[in-house]
Amino acid sequence: MNFHAIRAIYTFEMARTFRTLLQSIVSPVISTSLYFVVFGAAIGSRITGIDGVSYGAFIVPGLIMLSLLTQSISNASFGIFFPKFTGTIYELLSAPVSYVEIVISYVGAAATKSIILSLIILATSALFVPLEIQHPLWMLLFLVLTAFTFCLFGFVLGIWADGFEKLQLVPFLIVTPLIFLGGSFYSIEMLPPVWQTVTLFNPVVYLISGFRWSFYGIADVSVGVSLGMTLLFLAICLGLVAWIFKTGYRLKA
């Protein structure tokens, strides 16, 4: 293992994050606060609690997942797309680093950033609604697993994308709808039966359900299934990364 390289890339990426610290923290905090004002206070006050949890509190895990997923994908995709775009990738390709080390350092840095952001959003929401975290360790586990999974996905996206359009298109066209339809703002039981079945094909449902369970002990699908699915997505993304590097896809001519 080239630990010096891992450290160099990781600290380089984190330095990039801290340079833009203000905007990377302020914007999610503001948007989360807006969600609380709109969904929590304005609309939520007219909605009865779900499974004994007030609507404002109910949407917290979904909101965190929403940011976690979008941030993970955008951080990780940008982190590897940018050197490709500017050409500085030459150095990475000519360095004595393995693909595993590249993935560990880039994805590790992106995941660190999105986990920190999630915790900040969690703290922000505590200002708006009474929070309860029944299973903190599970909460962290879901947070970390999901962060890594979607950072891996973002990494693949960053390697695949050959322009800024594609970089933004995938999150916009695929990921955001999946998150919104994944039960961030409602319980799946609230949907008509047909849509409940359709929803089960949405991977995000399992992530949000498991995450919400770690807060309130309520879930749309069982925790074991949530965990299993999360691990499955992690494995798929790992496989995708491995395949991409094995074929040198879009990094080397």
Binding site: A8, G87, Y90, K252
Partner: protein, 308 residues
């Protein structure tokens, strides 16, 4: 001394189907300065990029100090520093951060003293806290050299290092290259300034259309392929070359005031004696004469012409 880089049967076909390299065989000797010359699109960058791990070879193999660049890439790449042709830098990083980053990336522990030395050698020390975006093009080029040297490579590739660099900096750079060679570093460079190869290199390789058409000691190359010209300044101008001298392929220059005879140093004997005798016989007198050796540039152009 053995080869520090050995390229065997290396070929590259890009995804577009374009065959950029055709079965290249090349040995770079330990400690030499090797200049790779070739016109635009000849395959210089492709060759360098394959050796450095940036482009995948289609066929063939490369060894760096005995390490295969693919199966033993860690050992091979640790030895190699690369200054690419394009200026690509992390615009918002400081000089210090980007050079230290490169050192770490190549698996070397932090060594601020060494990084300081590299920056001082390249006259970048007073810019160490500047963001790269604030530097001039020539300074950026030096930053890229500093990055390549940050991990103390044994082999340094310079892909057109002096493109867009002013005369003074170019001199500095060549001095640096010579100093590096003194410390045992092997240097492979490409350049369009043939003059530079002539001045700097120990050996020269000429590449065209993806093929190495010649590899030669510089001195040997100059000797072997060097044409010489004999210029005779005449006492009286000539309107045309007298028919009795037609066999020498003479040219009239300077408005008829000068006769130029071009001959090949490769041949065992030249016809200079005969020419002078014939001139005398024709009653043509001259007041002065010079010989001049053709430059590498002319040799190069000739070679490419022959290729075509």
């Amino acid at each position: 001394m053995g080869a520090i880089i050995s390229v065997s049967n290396l070929a590259k076909t890009y995804a577009s189907g374009f065959r950029a390299l055709k079965k290249i065989n090349l040995d770079i000797r330990r400690g030499e300065i090797f200049a790779l010359l070739g016109p635009n699109g000849a395959g210089k960058t492709t060759l360098i990029n394959i050796i450095c791990g940036i482009v995948n070879p289609s066929e063939g193999a490369v060894r760096a100090d005995g390490h295969d660049i693919i199966s033993d890439y860690r050992a091979a790449r640790s030895l190699i520093g690369l200054v690419p042709q394009e200026l690509t830098t992390d615009a918002f990083e400081t000089v210090w951060a980007t050079v230290s980053f490169s050192r770490g990336l190549f698996g070397k522990p932090k060594d601020p003293d060494y990084v300081e030395k590299v920056l001082r050698d390249l006259s970048l020390w007073d810019k160490k806290d500047n963001k790269i975006i604030t530097l001039s093009g020539g300074m950026k080029r030096r930053v890229m050299i500093a990055k390549a040297l940050s991990h103390e490579p044994q082999i340094l590739f310079l892909d057109e290092p002096t493109a867009g660099v002013d005369v003074e900096l170019r001199r500095d750079m060549w001095e640096m290259v010579r100093a590096l060679r003194e410390t045992g570093v092997t240097i492979i460079l490409t350049t369009h300034y043939i003059q530079e190869a002539e001045e700097m290199a120990d050996r020269i390789g000429v590449i065209n259309h993806g093929e190495i058409i010649l590899v030669e000691e510089k001195a040997e190359l100059m000797r072997k392929l060097g044409r010489k010209q004999l210029a005779l300044q005449l006492d009286e101008n000539l309107d045309e070359i007298p028919t009795e001298l037609a066999g020498y392929g003479l040219e009239l220059a300077a408005g008829g005031g000068e006769l130029v005879y071009t001959y090949d140093t490769q041949t065992e004997r030249t016809d200079i004696t005969a020419l002078l005798a014939d001139l005398n016989r024709a009653g043509i007198r001259f007041k002065d004469l010079q010989t001049k050796q053709s430059s590498l540039e002319e040799i190069f152009v000739d070679l490419l012409k022959e290729e075509r």
